[in-house]
Every structure is written in C-alpha cells, then in structure tokens.
Amino acid sequence: MAPAVLTRLTLTDFRSYEGASLDLDGRPVFLFGDNGAGKTNLLEAVSFLAPGKGLRGAGAGEVGRRMPGEAKGRAWSVAALVAAEGGDLRLGTGVEPDAARRIVRLEGETVQAGRLSEMVRLIWLTPAQDRLFLEGGTERRRFLDRLAFAAEPPHAAAAAAYERAMRERMKLLTDGPDDPLWLAALESRAAAAGAAVASARIRAVRALQVEIDGRADRPFPLASVSLSGDWDDAPDTEARLASTLAAARGRDAAAGRALSGPHRTDLVVIHREKDRPAAECSTGEQKALVLNLVLAQAARLSRAESAPNPILLLDEVAAHLDPERRAALFDEIAALKLQAFLTGVEAALFDGLKGRGSGVRVDRGALRTVED
C-alpha cells in the first residue's frame, strides 16, 4: 500500500487553535515554541485521525476551544488531506455544535470511525509514557494492546468480547443466579476470546523482539520483552483458561474480581546489557528503552503490506536524548521514510534534521513554517 502521508492539516477551534493550517511535504516536521504554545495540541489533533480518544485520552467533548467563562468547549474539527493514488483524500473529524459524539468524514461522507485505520496509522510517544515501567500494569497492557492491534486489527474485537464475557461472569458470581451451565457458557466465550487476545499479544511481542534484535547497531539500549503470566498461544490455552475460570469461581466471587486470566498479563521489559528490569534503570535509560520499542514497532509496521505506513508522533522526545541518540533518532526516521511530528522547545534541538525535515514555529495557536 502507498505510504500514508498527510499533505495538509486544518484545525478549527481545537484546544488552543482558533483556526490554523499547515501544508506538509511528507518529510518529518519539527514543531518548536515556548511551553504552552500549542505544540502538543497539534500532535493531539493529528492523533484524532485514528479511532479512539487521542494521545491525551480526552473525550471528544473536552478538546473544543474554550474561552474564559465558557462552560464547555466549542464544536471543533481536524481536517486533513491524505495523499493517495489518484489524488488526495479529504479526511476530517470533529464534533458538531451541541453534539457529543465525534464524527468522521471521508470525502464529504460521514463514515464509521473504524474507517480511519484504513487510511492513517499512528504511533505515538508522549512524556506520560516515560512512566510506563513505573506505573501499574494497566498502562503497559494498553501499550501492549496497541502493539497487537496495530499489527492485527481483529485484536480489538477479541479484547472487547473477552472483557464483556468476563463482566457478565462477574455479575453472575456476585449477584447470581448460581447457574453452573450459564457460567460455563460465559467462561467458554471468555476462554475463546481470551485465547485469541493472548496469542495476538505474544505474536506482537515476539515480532517486536525480532525487530529489536535486528537493530543492535543503534545507540539505543536493547530490551528483552516478554509477557508475565502463563497465557500465550499454546494450543491448550483456550481449554486451560476455561478450566481455570471454572475452578476460580468461589475465589473470584469472594474477591469481587477475576484473579486470573489474560487481563492480568503484564509486559515485562528487561534492559539487556544491564540485565535489569526497566523499572530499575535510570530515567534517561527508561526513556531510551521505550523510544527503541516504539521505533522497532514503527519499523515493523512500515514493512506491512496490507496497511498504511505509520505516522510517528513524538512529543518532547529530543530534549531527553544525548546528542548521539538524538542524531540516531533522526537518522532512523529519515531511513524509515516515515512522516513524523516532533516537538521541542528550541529549534536548535532539531539541527540534526536540517535538510531532511521542515520546521514549524508554534506561537499561541499560530503556525509558521520556517526555512530548514
């Protein structure tokens, strides 16, 4: 498939932007400007070109521009031209006045949000993910599921089916009726979906490990990635999960939640040279580890035939890298020929991209392209 490239972005009443537009040539874009200028807001706007809640996890009702004294955000839109064979496609998303739901428009027609993933695939890294290894498992599972979903879109449906069956099971366990056949039926559904979830995750982790191992010459720390728990793609996973759930009914009812199953799986990352868990490494090393995971995923997805090339959104990444790693990051983005949006407070951070990208000064909701 042709690489996905945004050629034009137009923001209307989105966060700090009243109206702004940006022409793009497919090369990496570095956004610089003071704190609060709106750099991350622009990345967030791009992130709404994927299904979901964007890179800040915000609801569609939260991102409309709001003047002091206004109770709620205004109707907003993010529109893009996406380069495609036979001309640019018009893609847009936003919220209409007095509506709560985000709508997606393709070539002037309202379409399901899922259609976005046919045209744009995004990989992002934000400062919030710097704490990926320090926080509870939820964030890491989300990161893991994004990895799996990007390579295998049916993963999202399997994960939703698993969660639904498990919620139904908990409802029966806590509120009754105590119907062993009904519970077994739910556990069978949960086991089928859970086995699909577990196997998609382990495939994603294995593919990522291969990718990381193939990148040993880069100046980034190498990670060994694996999954905790014992749910993977072994042939007996589904049967074992069903019998585990059946045996755990009393325990789960007492606890008020399911104590075993793939929803408890965690992504385990070890810094290979130091042979230590990522959480025990220095802050800088952790950032570099996550960045290398994200770049490995980008490299992997950029070779996938069946889906659009990923677009990288890297928020405040350059400032935390030493000059050698920063140069390696820019080389990597250039080599992958991916469209990327990077942010930083100073233009000087991006000197290494000179001639290979374009700079945009962000100043209180205004965007100005500067000569590279």
Binding site: P154, E168, K171, W182, A184, A185, R189
Partner: protein, 200 residues
C-alpha cells in the same frame, strides 16, 4: 415546549415517538400524515391496531406471533417435525421464512442471556425448548443466533442444556456471505471463514 396541538394529538405523537426508529420529529410528521389522510390511513390503521390487539398472540408452542394458536407454522402438517430452528426474536423467524430454505419448525427465545441486562434462562423460552426437544419426534435443533458475545453465550448454554436430550445440536455457518467480495469483508469474518473452510 409550548403545545400547539390538542391533548388527543399530543398523545398520538407521544405514542408514535415510542416506536423503534421514531423520534419526536418523525412522530410529528407521521401523526400529521395520519390526520390528513383520515380515510386512507388513520381509520384503517386504527382498525388494524384494534384487530391485531384482539387477535395476535404469542404461539403457545414456539413463541411466534400469529392470530391463531398454535401458529401457522406449528400447525402446518407439511412442516418437518424433526427440526427446530432456535431464533432470538420473531424478526429472525421472518428472515428465515423469507429465505424460504427451511421447512422445519421454530422456537423463539424472546431474547438472549445477558447477566448485565438481568436476562436469565428463566426469562427466555428455554424450558419449553428443552421439553420439545425431548418429545421423541425432534432429531435436530438448529441454533440461528447472532454472532455476538450474548448470542454465542446463549448458543453454548443451549447446547449444554440439550446435551442429553437425544438430539443433534447444530448452528448456522459463519463466513463469506453469498455474493460477497473478499476485499470488502472485515478481518474477523475472513478469519472465521478460514477456520470454517471445507473441501471444495
């Protein structure tokens, strides 16, 4: 909102608005159309509603809706009494009948198992189904339930309940629709069709 219409018209609009697919706006349009076409629409509709309310009942055998009990399908002697097709609602029964490919009888469950919505086996016509399956005449129960979590949980539950009824329990195939093009199918359907492949 200020009321422009008499209470009789307001009541009509309020009731129409409760129909599936209708909202306040479409209910007002429908009410207006009815009132303007008194002879062609309003009176015949009122008669049809009265008639339906008086005569249509759920079939005591299968749960389908009909003016006779047992329903036309259940009392049709030419129907194959060895087959029961299990559907969620009457709408699915009508879809099966439109296809014209099935000559057995039905069981309308009246919903699907859903703990979160408070629908359990006792709220559905499951006991009746099990009793019918055991009557000696029935040889196969075909589960024609939706491919959702609730639909498949219900199918699994029914298969277990019918395990010792001495009937074979089957379910409809899932995969590539007739006349369907592969590149328009979602990934999940393609994966399911691949798993369910069979000798050509």
């Amino acid at each position: 909102m200020a009321s422009f219409a008499s209470p009789e018209i307001e009541r009509l609009i309020a009731l129409l608005a409760k129909l599936p697919g209708m909202g306040p706006r479409s209910a007002r349009r429908a009410a207006l159309a009815l009132l303007k076409k008194r002879d062609q629409l309003l009176t015949p509709l009122a008669d049809a509603l009265t008639d339906a309310a008086a005569k249509v009942r759920a079939c005591s055998v299968c749960g389908a809706l009909d003016a006779q009990d047992p329903c036309a399908v259940c009392s049709d002697r030419s129907r194959d009494r060895a087959l029961i097709c299990v559907v969620e609602e009457v709408g699915a029964l009508w879809a099966m009948e439109r296809a014209g490919a099935y000559r057995g009888r039905y069981q309308v469950l009246g919903g699907l198992l859903s703990a979160l919505d408070g629908v359990g086996p006792d709220n559905l016509r499951i006991g009746e189904l099990v009793a019918r399956a055991r009557d000696g005449e029935v040889q196969e129960v075909i589960l024609a339930l939706p491919a959702t979590v609730d639909g498949q949980t219900t199918a699994h539950y029914l298969a277990e309940r019918l395990a010792d009824a001495g009937v074979s329990v089957t379910s409809l195939a899932r995969g590539v629709p007739v006349g369907g093009e592969l590149d328009w199918l979602d990934d999940g359907t393609i994966a399911q069709a691949l798993r369910a492949r069979r000798p050509a």
